[in-house]
Subunit: 398 residues, 2 copies
Amino acid sequence: MLSQNIQNALKGNSVIRAMFMEGKMMAEEIGAENVYDFSLGNPATPAPASVNQAIKDAVDELDSMELHGYMANAGYPDVRTAIAENLNKRFGTDFGMQNIIMTVGAAGGLNIILKTFLDPGDEVIAFAPYFVEYRAYVANFGGKIVEVSPNLDNFQPDLVDFEQKITDKTKAVIINTPNNPTGVIYSDETMTQLGEILSKKQKEYGHEIYLISDEPYRELVYDGEKERFLTGFYPNTIVGYSFSKSLSLPGERIGYVVVPNEVSDAKNVQTAIEIANRQLGFVNAPSLIQKAVAKCLDEKTDVAYYDKNRELLYGELTKLGFDCIKPQGAFYLWVKSPLADEEEFVQIAKKHHILLVKGSAFACPGYVRIAYCAAFEHIQNSLSAFAKLAEELGLKKA
Amino acid sequence: MLSQNIQNALKGNSVIRAMFMEGKMMAEEIGAENVYDFSLGNPATPAPASVNQAIKDAVDELDSMELHGYMANAGYPDVRTAIAENLNKRFGTDFGMQNIIMTVGAAGGLNIILKTFLDPGDEVIAFAPYFVEYRAYVANFGGKIVEVSPNLDNFQPDLVDFEQKITDKTKAVIINTPNNPTGVIYSDETMTQLGEILSKKQKEYGHEIYLISDEPYRELVYDGEKERFLTGFYPNTIVGYSFSKSLSLPGERIGYVVVPNEVSDAKNVQTAIEIANRQLGFVNAPSLIQKAVAKCLDEKTDVAYYDKNRELLYGELTKLGFDCIKPQGAFYLWVKSPLADEEEFVQIAKKHHILLVKGSAFACPGYVRIAYCAAFEHIQNSLSAFAKLAEELGLKKA
């Protein structure tokens, strides 16, 4: 008597979560130090000390009803104002509290955005490879994901295929940069062209097409790349953000949605998203942690920690003969499978106690994802296992 | 370009929230002390001191990755175990961690339960008067609320009408006791009969009908009433619980779902609800507050505080000639409107700066709800306004 949607989900369940659970079992058998579990994007760095201090300060200083009570469904006014001002300072935007809606993480944010716009049968475009849960999120509202084929040269979006995939039913486009799973940052040129195509298509079809920018990795950039905020490229852009990665708080479920004034009918959209937040059962973002993050908007996790992992893993795997995309952001390494069937590659890697996620889980077979949000020593220790894997597969050293 | 659902919601929006915002504006004009805002069920008692201590202890003692990191979508094993054991101790149940799924409040819990069971077109029965958001929750999954008429004698469910409303499309029944908005507790006799009807109808239609027990007011009971836990009356019972009221933490969004082993296909239902938690974008209940409530399971808010309000308000309004149901639980007083059109009554009360919610917002016109979760002094001060209201309406003193 389970719903059809959930029956299907039970069959598929999450490949990533399944691998995570498999890793836990393997760790019990042979010891966690011997399992190279690179399956889950669980931050490996602690939250900045200031976050824990802000939590304790809020508990000590605020009245219980203010700290733990209901507030407007969009969040505390002081928290929303602080975030608006912080974005203005960093990115030259001109937001006020009305542009910010506090959410239960980015996953909560994306769902209330999609609830706001989608009618059954609507299409949402995503660029392969993409975070698999988008499919479930869009299906929650009877929508359908339309995939743009991956651009295997550099994993920037394939804008030619993109333009062809837009139809009268296209209600939204989701982008995610820095990207999970590739680590690629969409260039300003890509974003400009993408905005131009959307503006043209909006005119052609005579209705809005929303660009949804999923930005949990905004602050995790390397090689001197600047942090980007994407509302400047196309007026109908709505941002979903999470503090999960920037402050290492994934369990706390805290993020926000930005609806700029440039969005058509912005006021109604803001109210609608607030209503969706209530009606989907989120009600509001968790209260104490709202207050805490508002005090830590200039903080971020130890990005250099991930950078060190990135350099080591990219360098060594490349030397071993693996074909990798050098990540510019996030904490994933995207590796071409040495075997035509990447699932077979994942199975062989598992024999060496290396847990990877197959690319087909991101709508991009032939590749695997390595989440290098792990302890540096653990990555060091994994290298001999990768060497044996390369040897078994007969890879040629670079 | 908003979705049809959200366009409708924008028109209606929440009557209760609208009244709450109106109260805030009135307070700015004439001062908060002069506005008798009884519109919102926002707890008026602080969280027990032990909750804030548990938060600080968790921050001091736990590793950041354990405290703020991802865990299984169902929540921390130690938290789920603690809750199972606490329920077993209090209610003689036999739960283990597998029966408990931590949720983003009861609203999050209800939504993931409904996502697990509902296909478009399915029917969910609710007993009028009921919490209005149920309608939106059921509509999220294409379901339809079927209302059982209120039993105006004592506001126990009308089981004759109930039996007639069950059809082959009935997938679930939602109950809420102690009840919002009436304060009535469904008797053991009611529950036994309700369970018998459901068992009979399951057999008749040859498929499961789930009883969803929404229990945020479980611990708020008066006059020596015992706290009740409702899985014992009917095997296919699933509980949605929230710490919002028992620990005065409504802003924190923390609760849990209970799926007893007696539920048909219990293991799959448990997994399905966990998947629904992820796919709807909740991912998991907020982490730090999970750890904190697990340390405070024997604590509860100051129930005597609400009891004092209840006695005063019920006593005085009855004396003024209002016709009230004496609440046995929760923190609402359900009052028969002295005017045929209760909306007119609400408008007249507003002139006296008394903010009430109309019964039609709970599918039960002709009544109003008074949320007496307010400071005792505030209720004392409101009595002269109620007296003037009674006078204007020509009520006869008892």
